[in-house]
Amino acid sequence: MEEEAGEEPVLDRTTASKDFHFYHMDLYDSEDRLQIIPEENTSMRREVVQAEMTKDPRGEGERKVQRDLQEDVDDLVHLYGLEDEHELGDEFVEESRMGVSGYLPYGMKRRDPAREQRDWRLEGEVAEAEDLGYGGWGLAGQCQDLREAYRYTHGRASEEYECYVIPEEEDEEEAEDVFCATCKTPIRAVEKAFDEHKEHEVTPLNKALESAKEEIHKNMYKLEKQIIEMENFASHLEEVFITVEENFGRQEQNFELHYNEILETLAQKYEEKIQTLGQKKKEKLEALYGQLVSCGENLDTCKELMETIEEMCHEEKVDFLKDAVAMADRLGKFLKTKTDVEISAQPDFEDQTLDFSDVEQLMGSINTIPAPSAPVINPQAPNSATGSSVRVCWSLYSDDTVESYQLSYRPVQDSSPGKNQEVFTVTVKETYCSVVNLEPNTQYEFWVIAQNRAGPSPSSEHAVYMTAPSPPIIKSKEIRSCEEAALICWESGNLNPVDSYTVELTQAETPEASGVTESVVGIPTCESLIQLQPRQCYTIFVRALNVGGPSTRSEPATVHTTGSYFHLNKDTCHPWLTISKDGFTVVRSERKILAKELLPSKTQFTRCVAVMGNLIPVRGRHYWEVEVDECLDYTVGVAFEDVPKQEDLGANCSSWCMRHTFASSRHKYEFLHNRTTPDIRITVSPKKIGILLDYENSKLSFFNVDISQHLYTFNCQLHQFVHPCFSLEKPGCLKIHNGISMPMHVTFY
């Protein structure tokens, strides 16, 4: 069987080898190898080879070598069967690459009788392989081709090989239905049970397919993203490209300009120098000439004197003496005149120095550019400031080259124009600067100067920027609320006025609230009435705003929209009353007696010992409770804010009250408005009075809370807002409960 299986591929392989030989045989010189390859090697498959040769127009020598090489393999295949061929093929390729050394262990492993022959042959092959190394393309290229050839043959052989050796593979038509995650290959479920996948993690094929698809989609997405990034990057590069061109073009122009200037300057200097040089030369020559002339004259004079003296020597004694005296005078005179033998002009060129400083300066200025023009400072961008910083931006003319900017600023203070404020300066490279450590809610004047090596620009215009305000301070103790709204007051937190305030509210502690923050913006004053949802808890922040932007958040305040919540207004409090620390217990003590009479007041109760609460001005329903002593004389109810403070509660048209008086063990309950009361008797004295103010139905109701008893209801026309009132006619105390939800029973009134 082995033989048969081997039979057919041989032919194919040979053909394959032939194709393969076309590529490279002319790349190296194969002539030498003819001797190396033993003759007998080629004889074994002669018929086949001859058949090929008829097709092949090439020279037999070249062909033969190649054929021999191939046939070596083929023969071996025949000798050792497919398995061997497979190994041998690999080995051969290996051999070609590595030389002899790789072979021996292989040979040792073999157990067949044909071993020697093969060894011998392989030696030949080695020789050939070495020989191949001398070819122009070296071993690597050669081996590549060889490998291809063998891969082809091996591919053919291995199909049969697989069919034979691994019979399981015959079931391949049966589809794989699971995917082995470990081997990353689809397998059939049955294989899972007993195969190598036994220990492996497998998933259904569909699922594996899904996840593979998903993976691919992910990768595609990544690739898409990468494409976009690369495109962006490319366009960015283009921009940079253009910028580089522009910048270099500008610089070229600049250089040209400067070099021309320098050349001109040098030429001018040369002219000047030459001229000066000529002048000097002329002057020197003239001086020398003058000297020469006078020297010649002197010479003549000397000669003449000599001659004269010589003549005199030949004269008579008397004449000689006469002349000699005259001559001596003349000679003495002449000798006295100093003969100038100093050369008036040196032949050297004294002025060696050449002044190139201006040229140097020009040279130096080649790389610099003109000083920049004044930058343009931007007006303040909205919301760009914080309480301690502003972000100042400016721009430059595009032709300017700027190394840095000097940003100067000082606070604007119109109050003292004479006094110069300290100017601060910072140097930055960018065309913006975040200036920090400023005072909040303050105007600052900014101006900027650009500079480069050539010098500074003129100053920009002055721009006024403003820091954001300080956060406001919520007056937590003055927050009033009801089920529908809250009245929030705050202190500005800033000395100078701000533009407006923003109230931010976050519903808390409910699962459906989801922490969404609502904002009420543009509040001009330091208080705001905020509409809210009933029976919720809100966290409230306030921000102050000016042109610079918003302040940071104020400290939070918490508002519960359960019932109505108010504080007592201490300004209204009669001096005999004291309000407890928590603000909700009103005490009239025994001892407090005023020495002097109180002056009538518009805000403070001066007659009845009362205090007023600050109820939120919302026309809804408000409910609160008052805890009283059964024997205490008290008055509770509501009154307009401007209720006459020197009258008793209930003694006018501005107040509606329940009054309890306890005298001679009898309780008297009055429901007073404008000094009148209905005649009502109550058998059980309330310890806790519920008061329901209902603007919508114009009603004010009183209840005995403990027994849910309705006591009385006023029908009152409330044309303005009323406030809770509490009065103590005798020493004692009452306790106010608010911020509580309305009991069920009061909803009937």
């Binding site: 209905p678 005649d679 009502i680 008797r681 109550i682 058998t683 059980v684 005995n704 849910s708 008893q709």
Partner: protein
């Protein structure tokens, strides 16, 4: 207990009806008025019993008090029975307006010849509620009672004698202390004989003293210009004092200028309906 509908009129979305039936307690045909609010069409409603005063039938309240709107809004079924047995042919039953016909005083008579028929207390507290509960969409657990004058007395004693049976009680110008007033003395001696202790079991002021500490919110309106108040027939102060003593919650409102009439009732009927609705609909 066959009911015979005498009349039915739509009123404030509901129906004002009058029925007649044979009363076992009273041994005669009795009429009662019942108002079914719109809410009764879809579910059970609380029942509020109204007891009328001397000389009245089931008609006075339903035609004069104007209670329908409030009852309709609060979803209350309001039952107004007659004030006494009628047509029993008892000698002297029609002799005076304050005794016999139209003046049952909501007691169970023990004296002849009244004891066979004049069992108004059992009728309004037992027979009638059973009939109503069986025939109309009422919630038997939610029941209150109120009345006027003699009916105010009736409402008070029904509530005070049956702690917990009625969620609330209220009254217009009730006869608060019948054992001490002329009407009461006449009626009680006639129906109950001379035993004053028997009388006291039907006297609200006396019943307060034995009333257990149970929550009962009593609302009483009294016209200040009520002639019967001035005549000492009603004696609310005695009742109030007793209640104050026993800490039974009463709000007693002496209404300036009002008399004993249905005009007075009509003025404050809504307050009373609300008072009951507060407990019945709580």
């Amino acid at each position: 207990m066959a009911l015979k509908q005498i009349s039915s009129n739509k009123c404030f979305g509901g129906l004002q009806k009058v029925f007649e039936h044979d009363s076992v307690e009273l041994n005669c045909k009795m009429k009662f008025a019942i108002y079914l609010p719109p809410k009764a069409e879809s579910g059970k409603c609380p029942a509020l019993y109204w007891l009328s005063g001397l000389t009245c039938t089931e008609q006075n309240f339903i035609s004069k008090s104007g209670y329908h709107q409030a009852a309709s809004e609060h979803g209350l079924i309001v039952i107004a029975p007659d004030t006494s047995p009628r047509g029993c042919n008892i000698k002297g039953e029609d002799e005076s307006w304050d005794f016999g016909t139209g003046a049952g005083f909501y007691v169970n008579a023990t004296e002849d010849p009244w004891k066979t028929n004049y069992r108004m207390y059992s009728y309004v507290t037992e027979e009638l509620p059973q009939l109503i509960n069986a025939s109309f969409p009422v919630d038997p657990q939610r029941m209150s009672i109120f009345g006027h004058s003699m009916g105010g007395h009736g409402a008070l004693i029904c509530a005070l004698k049956n702690p917990g049976k009625y969620k609330s009680v209220s009254a217009f110008a009730p006869i608060c202390n019948p054992v001490l007033c002329p009407w009461g003395k006449k009626a009680f001696s006639g129906y109950l004989g001379t035993d004053q202790n028997k009388w006291k079991t039907y006297d609200a002021t006396h019943l307060v003293e034995s009333y257990p500490d149970s929550q009962l919110d009593i609302l009483i309106d009294q016209g200040k210009d009520d002639q019967f108040l001035l005549d000492g027939q009603l004696l609310p102060d005695n009742f109030i004092s007793a209640c104050a003593e026993k800490k039974i919650p009463v709000v007693f409102r002496l209404q300036e200028g009002y008399d004993h009439s249905y005009y007075f009732i009509a003025t404050f009927i809504a307050d009373h309906i609300r008072h009951h609705a507060k407990y019945l609909n709580a």
